[in-house]
């Protein structure tokens, strides 16, 4: 098989935008209000499931070509799609920019996922040793990673280009609010990391997560962050339009994006 490796360069940062005032923007007090222009270019759960099915077919063709008496299959469609949707949802409720913002589940689960409606890990069966080189996953598009912006989009996507100083300015009102509430965190990602080892959410975790979300609403942190990201998204889309259209067409079979 011919292998074409298209490797990326380090992305050049976008110009630092002016950070808008929270009061000038619509309040975002729920995760389902978050919308970004780049969302239109990210694969949907249905599109990823189609690629999962195609991948399964190719793997089994490969195994048959090797003359092996084994088959390959993803977990059930229900489980696979739940994992995909959990990761898609994470782009908003566990953002690399604003951290945790699951306004729906915070009171019951703190920083953790609702086990009834979210699935955060999934396992695929091992390949026979004879097929591990010839039918390797890592030589192909990996459907289950297509929920990740940095994996899917050219240059790693727009979020990757937000400068650190911008992040610092964005998070300051939230940090001050949290400090006033008795919590000292330098970054909104820190409390997510802190409570991750808990198998079940402690009361301290839930209380902290509630304060975290409340501060984000009180300061309209997510509203401001989304406004900054929208500017980055638009600049990124303009710069990478051809590659985005090509990706959408070839990978996802979309036309007329």
């Amino acid at each position: 098989m011919t292998v074409l490796v298209l490797s990326g360069c380090i992305a050049q940062p976008s110009p630092v935008p002016t950070i808008p005032k929270a009061d000038d923007l619509q309040l975002i007090d729920s995760f389902d209000q978050v919308e970004r222009p780049i969302d239109a270019y990210m694969p949907t759960a249905r599109e990823i499931m189609r690629l999962v099915d195609e991948h399964e077919v190719r793997m089994n063709e490969c195994l048959a070509e090797q003359g092996l008496g084994t088959t390959f299959s993803y977990p059930s469609d229900e489980e696979t799609e739940l994992f995909i949707r959990t990761n898609i949802r994470d782009r908003v409720v566990r953002s690399d920019v604003w951290g945790f913002f699951d306004t729906k589940n915070v009171n019951a689960f703190g920083y953790q996922r609702d086990p009834a409606t979210e699935l955060s890990s999934i396992s695929l069966p091992p390949l026979p040793p004879e097929a591990q080189e010839t039918c390797r996953l890592e030589d192909e598009v990996e459907p289950l990673l297509l929920t990740i912006e940095a994996y899917t989009l050219p240059d790693g996507g727009p979020t990757l280009s937000v400068p650190e100083e911008t992040m610092r300015q964005l998070t300051e009102p939230w940090r001050i609010c949290m400090r006033d509430a008795g919590y000292t965190y330098d970054s909104p990602l820190e409390p997510l990391n802190e409570f991750m080892p808990e198998s079940k959410p402690s009361q301290k975790q839930i209380t902290t997560a509630q304060a975290d979300v409340n501060c984000k609403v009180e300061t309209n942190f997510v509203g401001v962050a989304v406004a900054v990201l929208v500017a980055h998204d638009n600049a990124y889309i303009e710069k990478n339009e051809a590659a985005l259209v090509e990706m959408s067409s070839m990978l996802l079979g979309r036309t007329g994006q």
Binding site: V3, G8, C9, D90, S120, D139, E140, A150, M196, M250
Partner: protein
């Protein structure tokens, strides 16, 4: 001349294209039997000291990893994963386990042979 998905490249152009950030994740190429490595951030995955944000592969000799990329490893007796601020997958004798960020979960004790972080 190399033809990929209707795009003609001369050898020199293909080399230039390889150096450009182009996310041509080609399902069509796959259908033609070509393997296309998905565009990914530079392969910078690194073993590092364990912290809350690192990917921790828990065993009697826990190892911790960060930054995006893929690496082949041989890690015996791994029974738990602490994802930290990392999503990706591990490959092992038990199969390939994909994981989302910020979670801790157990896996059947196994030898891990590959790690990908994104």
């Amino acid at each position: 001349m190399i033809r990929l998905l209707g795009i003609h490249f001369h050898d020199g152009e293909l080399m230039k294209t390889k150096k450009k950030v182009v996310s041509i994740i080609a399902a069509g190429a796959l259908a033609l039997g070509l393997s296309v490595a998905a565009v990914a951030p530079a392969n910078a995955i690194t073993r590092m000291g364990c912290a809350n944000h690192t990917l921790n592969l828990v065993s009697s000799q826990t190892t911790c990893w960060g930054f995006a990329g893929y690496t082949s490893v041989t890690l015996y007796g791994v029974y738990s994963i602490i994802a930290g601020n990392n999503a990706g997958y591990v490959q092992g004798s038990g199969g390939t386990t994909y994981f989302a960020k910020w979670q801790t979960f157990g896996i059947p004790t196994q030898t891990i042979s590959g790690i990908r972080i994104h």
